[in-house]
């Protein structure tokens, strides 16, 4: 009886009521990487409908009206023996068809050219690496201490083109934020380039667009487009290493380092693993497990204790932590803002 209950997407990402949540739709788009293609899609859909309608009308007309009088008995011989100049209909058919196709072709070429590269030089570059089954994000800076790494939640300044360098760590994935542009594959051993630009602030949901294994369907990501000053504040916060652990969470940190640090990094601590997502600022993210769970206390505990129940096949194993140890790790994680 409660299956109708769905939590609103905007609230689900916890970005407050002011930011619009964009669903996974390519028919309503919000940036110059996507808009020319959206116009083309709508144009071609309307053209196709018009052509289908025209053909249907001509067929019906041909069947019902345009019959040679008295020819009911010899349908098979009618077409070849009729003296009327039927050839002109070939031209009448060909000219508008070729015309429409040429228009569609030119429009397509222009659309591809428009989305091929941004008109201005990109405001920043983000390295996005597809993993089974999450997205690693690296924001390179001008110096080594201006780099930082995050996961699954891309922040960009609104209204500016952002270059995306796509890589894959294991198998082929595909980067796809429908409202911001078409898919680009992430291929092991290659670096593919694409770009995005959001013209309106909001949260844009995306999803791996190439089947990549068992949990492909749970490999989501979001793009959060913020006003420039909010983006800069976020960037500065991400650059900070984890705070010195307070006495109350030191036991939790020790547990984390021992049980989690081989795969996860918390910048500025002994935890330096690179197999799983960087957790230095995990509390700043809206979801866990690549867009699968809202990042709540319950979700963190359930995920840490038994990720295999929630996302079977994920590379993270179930842990053998006791309830008290789980609570300790959780209290430490909650300081990673």
């Amino acid at each position: 009886m409660f299956t109708m209950v769905r939590f609103p997407v905007a609230a689900a990402f916890g970005h407050g009521p002011s930011s619009t949540a964009w669903p996974m739709s390519y028919l309503t788009t919000a940036g110059p990487r996507a808009d020319p293609v959206t116009a083309l899609v709508w144009g071609l859909i309307l053209l196709s409908i018009a052509v289908s309608f025209l053909i249907a009308v001509l067929v019906v007309w041909g069947v019902l009206v345009r019959r040679v009088p008295g020819s009911d008995e010899g349908v098979a011989s009618m077409a070849v023996s009729r003296p009327a100049g039927g050839l002109k209909w070939i031209w009448i058919g060909l000219v508008p068809t070729v015309g429409a196709l040429v228009v569609a072709l030119i429009w397509t070429i222009y659309a591809i050219r428009a989305v091929d590269s941004p008109g201005q030089s990109p405001a920043l570059t983000i390295e996005v690496t597809g993993h089974q089954w999450w997205w690693e994000l690296r924001y390179p800076g001008s110096s080594p201490n201006a780099n930082f790494t995050s996961a699954n939640e891309i922040h960009i300044p609104v209204g500016e083109p952002v270059l995306i360098e796509l890589k894959a760590a294991d198998v082929i994935h595909s980067f796809w934020i429908p409202a911001l542009g078409g898919k680009t594959d992430a291929i092991p051993g290659r670096t593919n380039l694409t770009w995005i630009q959001a013209d309106r602030p909001g949260v844009y949901r995306g999803q791996c667009g190439e089947f990549c294994g068992l949990q492909h369907a749970h490999m989501a990501l979001v793009v959060v487009a913020d006003p420039p000053e909010a983006f800069e504040a976020w960037r500065q916060a991400q650059l900070r290493p984890a705070p010195q652990a307070h006495d109350t969470v030191r036991a939790g940190q020790a547990l984390f380092d021992a049980h989690c640090g081989a795969c996860h990094t918390v910048s500025g601590t002994a935890a330096g693993g690179i197999v799983g997502p960087d957790l230095t600022h995990v509390m700043s993210r809206s979801t866990l497990a690549a867009g699968m769970l809202r990042n709540t206390r319950a979700a963190r505990l359930g995920w840490i204790s038994n990720p295999q129940a929630l996302k079977p096949g994920a590379r993270m194993p179930a842990t053998d932590l006791s309830a008290r140890e789980l609570a300790g790790v959780e209290s430490y994680l909650e300081t990673l803002r």
Partner: protein
């Protein structure tokens, strides 16, 4: 014939669902009594399903704590408390005060939230 049956079946199902939904709509106000529907929304928002398997909640497939199917018919909560609405609310709001050190965290829910979640769980029979 098959199709007619299917259509009428679907229609009946829709009517039943509508009746059930309107039946449990309940008062929405702050002091309008327990609202199980709101409770279900909160269960989804707080991600209770990361630890529990919960009927009617999307992707509630966790296997850390016990599954909540049939919770309305169980007599004891968390191995300690008689299963009354007040106790369920108390357990949901502050599991650490009922059974210190157990794995279920205090989620910081207020009176109304925990009461509504308890009301939702009381529908799981």
């Amino acid at each position: 014939m098959k199709r007619t049956l299917a259509v009428s079946g679907l229609t009946a199902l829709g009517l039943v669902a509508a009746a059930l939904l309107s039946g449990c709509q309940g008062p929405q106000g702050d002091d309008g009594g327990p609202d199980p529907r709101r409770g279900a929304v909160l269960v989804e928002r707080e991600a209770c399903g990361a630890c529990h398997q919960i009927p009617h909640i999307q992707r509630a497939v966790g296997r850390v704590g016990p599954p909540l199917a049939g919770m309305a018919r169980r007599t004891i909560i968390a191995g300690y408390l008689p299963n009354t609405p007040d106790n369920m609310k108390r357990w949901i709001q502050s599991p650490q005060s009922v059974a210190p050190g157990n794995a279920m965290p205090d989620m910081g829910l207020d009176d109304r939230d925990s009461r509504d979640i308890a009301a939702f769980i009381e529908t799981l029979d």
